[in-house]
């Protein structure tokens, strides 16, 4: 590897995009044609291959465990080869569960919903003339399980904002899988046309969902926050959108705890807004609060951190 490559870790979107598309195709195919029992050994082999060949991914998980252990003071979380490997295996498990979700084999009744703020009722209410809200998810745990939300939301359309360029293709896959209510919208940069579109969707009672823990492609629009005791770049996008649209923002994550999926829903901001001249400071504050919450969730399921790329500031390493 050249020095330049070492100096600038590849962006996750470059790394993941192709993989994700292939994975989704494979998952959609496998979901239709084979069962979990058949796929389990195959997937574990694939993950083992990635573990053995993915030095960068191993290193990234090791860094994560290191920071998590230091920040929480829980020395038993410190990275060992076995623990790093377990993280990869947890990912294989997660992929298999995703497959079940796609096949509809994971029923909503099997998922526990922790919803202290009554967001589920609000989701249902937006079917009858209420305004939509924003859901910010994370790559801790299994976001796909939150698709079950579409089921519990019944007819409430969910727009998922993503960075990928393969939106048309993925939307077709979703359609083929019989998914009517979920729609992907590509957001690489916020422009006026997109803003107006999103705002109208909210007014129609549709909800918007996006990940809060992936930094955007472009250098701008990121805030450096303290995450697990170290500076890490976080996306400004979700919080920018929240402030502009002025709609309630909720956090969402789905962790597998003791073999059972738990969807956590909680209110994060009631009416996001900033004062003139305070925009960047306000967004940085929200990003920090989000990172703090994410850190607490990491401790609930340390093995389910599935960001397999350098997450913290390279300068800090």
């Amino acid at each position: 590897m050249s020095e330049a490559q070492l100096a600038t870790p590849r962006h996750w979107s470059a790394q993941r995009e192709r993989g994700n598309l292939l994975l989704m195709r494979f998952t959609a195919f496998a979901a239709r044609h084979c069962g979990r029992r058949l796929l389990s050994p195959l997937l574990h082999l694939i993950v083992l291959y990635f573990f053995l060949t993915g030095r960068r991914a191993r290193r990234s998980i090791s860094d994560y465990l290191q920071h998590l252990a230091a920040w929480s003071g829980r020395t038993e979380l410190r990275p060992t080869p076995r623990r790093v490997f377990a993280q990869f295996m947890a990912f294989a498990e997660c992929l298999l569960d995703r497959l079940d979700v796609w096949r509809g084999a994971l029923r909503f009744e099997q998922v526990r919903v922790l919803d202290p703020d009554g967001l589920r009722a609000q989701l249902l209410a937006s079917r009858h003339g209420g305004r939509g809200q924003l859901l910010v998810g994370t790559h801790l745990g299994n976001l796909d399980v939150c698709r079950a939300l579409a089921e519990l939301g019944e007819q409430v359309p969910l727009n998922v904002l993503v960075h990928t360029h393969h939106v048309a293709h993925l939307n077709r896959l979703l359609g083929e899988a019989g998914e009517q209510r979920m729609r992907l919208i590509q957001v690489s940069e916020l422009d006026a046309a997109l803003m107006l579109d999103l705002s109208q969707r909210l007014e129609r009672g549709e909800w918007l969902a996006m990940a809060g823990d992936r930094v955007p492609l472009h250098e701008g629009r990121r805030a450096t926050v303290d995450f697990l005791g170290r500076p890490a770049p976080f996306a400004q996008g979700p919080w920018l959108l929240a402030g502009l649209l002025g709609c309630p923002v909720n956090l969402m994550c789905c962790l597998k705890i003791a073999g059972q999926y738990e969807i956590r829903l909680e209110r994060f901001l009631d009416a996001p807004a900033w004062a003139r001249g305070q925009r960047d400071a306000t967004i940085a504050q929200w990003a920090q609060r989000y990172a703090d919450r994410l850190a607490e969730w990491c401790l609930l399921a340390p093995q389910q951190w599935f960001n397999f790329y350098p997450y913290w500031d390279a300068a800090d390493a």
Binding site: L190, D191, A192, A193, M195, L196, D197, Q200
Partner: protein, 94 residues
């Protein structure tokens, strides 16, 4: 649209900019129709533009197609915004 209603629309939009972006120390008359809103002129930035677009949608029900390459130009000045709003209203009237 005659000259006086056009001037009134420009003033309305200048006021909307002030209200939306909390430019409390300014008055509508402080934003001449031809003054650039972004960069050198009033000093607004791209996020202000998004806020403005949402406010215009609420007030005038404007629409911007995602393939509209002129979107940026519409937001250049109060005059161009007024022309844009007027053209949309005219389109709706037909």
């Amino acid at each position: 649209m005659n000259a006086s209603t056009h001037a009134a629309l420009e003033q309305e939009i200048a006021q909307l900019i002030i209200d939306t972006l909390n430019l409390e120390d300014l008055q509508a008359a402080d934003i001449p129709p031809q003054q650039p809103l972004f960069g050198e002129g009033l000093g607004l930035d791209s996020v202000d533009a998004l806020e403005l677009a949402l406010a215009l949608q609420k007030r005038y029900d404007i629409r911007i197609a995602s393939d509209d390459r002129d979107a940026r130009r519409h937001f250049a000045t109060v005059a161009s915004l007024a022309a844009f709003v007027a053209s949309q209203q005219a389109a709706c009237a037909h």
